[in-house]
């Protein structure tokens, strides 16, 4: 596990990854556990949501029938909780892995080896991607395994589509944190600024769904491309997924360049 910076970075996060995985499994267990009760009292719940103002409806998962399996999973997991968890994970990882280690001073000895700086950042990004992907796989597997016994009837490919999109969303903001950290060397800044951007982007997408004035700017928000409801019903929209991937790759590429050019540890 110590052959290179990629493996070393994953190894550093092994305990935290375990806890995150357990947390996700717990979330899934609670979600599928409540399904039988929801399925029964379904119609009332739907009426309740219909009475909500549109902004709150979209918070609750948009226009899906909450008592359908897809609507239920969307509302309970993919509309809000899972994106938040993957965002927090990605942002924390992205800001600590370069800027955090730089500020702690531990990167100094790594950079004194005959390894190009861009390569260190590239391996750390790869570790971020693999770790986020791993959590996605945990979410997918526990949902796929947990859904069937309680009669939560949803295809595993629909689940895969939804988890893929959550992973991609987490990676966009993880890569943004990595970029700000690589550019400035300041972990707190990377953490705070990325969180702010994420909240702003979420609100942009939310307002765009209810206000015509904001609507034209909707395409600027990664949350629009994430568009939680759709993957569970229709699978992955390749264009939406591609947009998130391209943004992530660009941010990662900028990180390599930014870190290569500046003074480290000042």
């Amino acid at each position: 596990m110590l052959r290179n910076t990629f493996l070393k970075t994953l190894r550093d996060r092994r305990r935290s990854l375990l806890w995150w995985a357990l947390g996700l499994v717990g979330l899934v267990a609670i979600t599928v556990g409540f399904w039988p009760a929801i399925e029964e009292s379904g119609q009332e719940l739907n009426r309740l949501v219909e009475d909500l103002p549109p902004a709150l409806q979209s918070l609750a998962g948009g226009d899906l029938d909450l008592t359908s399996p897809a609507g239920y999973l969307n509302g309970r997991v993919f509309a809000f909780l899972a994106p938040i968890l993957f965002l927090v994970f990605g942002i924390a990882f992205g800001s600590r892995t370069v800027a955090g280690e730089e500020q702690a001073g531990t990167l100094e000895l790594v950079l004194a080896r005959p390894v190009p700086r861009w390569r260190i950042v590239a391996e750390k990004f790869a570790a971020l991607a693999v770790a986020t992907g791993f959590l996605g796989a945990v979410l997918w597997a526990s949902l796929a395994l947990g859904a069937a016994p309680v009669g939560l009837d949803i295809g595993s490919s629909a689940l895969a589509a939804a988890t893929l999109m959550v992973v991609l969303l987490g990676l966009v903001f993880g890569a943004l944190a990595l970029f700000i950290g690589s550019l400035t060397g300041k972990r707190g800044l990377a953490l705070g600024l990325t969180t702010t951007v994420a909240v702003a982007m979420y609100l942009l997408d939310l307002y765009a769904s209810i206000s015509e004035a904001v609507e034209p700017f909707r395409g600027l928000s990664p949350f629009y491309y994430y568009d939680a409801a759709v993957p569970l019903r229709n699978g992955v929209d390749p264009l939406h997924a591609a947009f998130l991937v391209v943004v992530t790759v660009f941010l990662a590429g900028f990180s390599l360049v930014a870190f290569e050019r500046r003074d480290v540890g000042v």
């Binding site: 052959r3 070393k8 702690a104 531990t106 000895l109 004194a112 080896r113 005959p114 190009p116």
Partner: protein
């Protein structure tokens, strides 16, 4: 043809925004020598060293190691250099052995026998978690990572700062071995005895400027030495006036205090005319050395 210097800097300059780092630092380090970089806190030692390691980039000027540009050919340079940072920060959660294996892999793998040898030599227990180690033991891990690939050049930023004399001595011995093995060493320090014990030549840096590069012996010869001579009876002040290299003479009853540059010959011969009870000579410290180079002469 003259041999290629191990380290070469030309007008190396670094400013941190509006803050001074170093200015116009130019020096050569020749192969097989131990070069001491001596200066008080904030003089620019760490700045110079981090420029050599390409961790920070110069505002002006350039530096070469083994004739390779530290900016453009930094990879090749770092392959052949061992570096000990001034503020050593290790991954606290790792065991020493794991950290050394990781750092070794980043060099494409190093012979573990050498790591073992160094650890035995220093008495370092590699099984412990780094977070549990004392600062002296952390420094040992730092030295092992700097030496483990048997580099041609060691760049060490205050390798013994804050350590007790016993460990200091061990480190000095280890470095002497490395030099006997044909390696070159560039080390910074603000302790004169350390530099005296290890170095062949010394560069003195102060407020970002290199003020002198000297053989260690020449440095001591130029140093101011404070001398205190006690006589059996009171002596006439005139007896010590106008002696070669003797300054700041003060006479107080039977005790004469003065500052001497270089040789003590004149003052000793003057003293010999009276009955001497005791002579106290203070070895020149860093302050005295600096006084020798700035002592009032170019003060504003």
């Amino acid at each position: 043809m003259a041999e290629q210097p191990v380290i070469q800097t030309r007008q190396l300059t670094k400013s941190y925004g509006r803050h001074r780092g170093i200015e116009d630092v130019t020096f050569d380090v020749t192969r097989g020598e131990v070069f001491g970089f001596l200066g008080p806190n904030g003089a620019g030692k760490t700045t110079t060293i981090r420029l050599l390691m390409d961790l920070i980039r110069p505002t002006a000027g350039a530096a070469w190691i083994f004739g390779l540009d530290v900016r453009a050919q930094g990879l090749e340079v770092r392959r052949r250099v061992g570096y000990l940072p001034g503020e050593l920060r290790l991954y606290e959660g790792m065991r020493s052995e794991d950290l050394l294996r990781y750092l070794g892999h980043l060099r494409g793998g190093v012979g573990w026998a050498e790591v073992k040898r160094l650890a035995d030599r220093l008495g370092a227990d590699l099984d412990r978690r780094i977070g549990e180690l004392s600062s002296g033991n952390k420094q040992k891990v730092g030295l092992i990572q700097a030496l483990m690939h048997r580099p041609d050049l060691l760049i060490l930023d205050e390798p013994t700062a804050g350590l007790d004399p016993l460990i200091q001595h061990e480190i000095h011995a280890l470095l002497s071995e490395a030099v006997a093995d044909g390696r070159s060493v560039f080390l910074s320090s603000h302790i004169l005895p350390e530099v005296e014990a290890l170095c062949h030549r010394v560069g003195i840096i102060r407020e970002g400027r290199l003020v002198a590069v000297e053989e260690i012996d020449a440095l001591k010869a130029r140093a101011l030495r404070r001398l205190e001579i006690q006589f059996a009876t009171a002596v006439p002040p005139a007896a010590f006036a106008n002696l070669a290299g003797v300054q700041d003479v003060s006479t107080q009853d039977s005790v004469v205090r003065c500052t001497v540059v270089g040789s003590l010959d004149a003052v000793i011969k003057a003293a010999a005319r009276f009955e001497v009870v005791n002579v106290v000579s203070h070895e020149p410290g860093l302050e005295e050395i600096f006084l020798a180079y700035y002592g009032g002469t170019d003060a504003p």
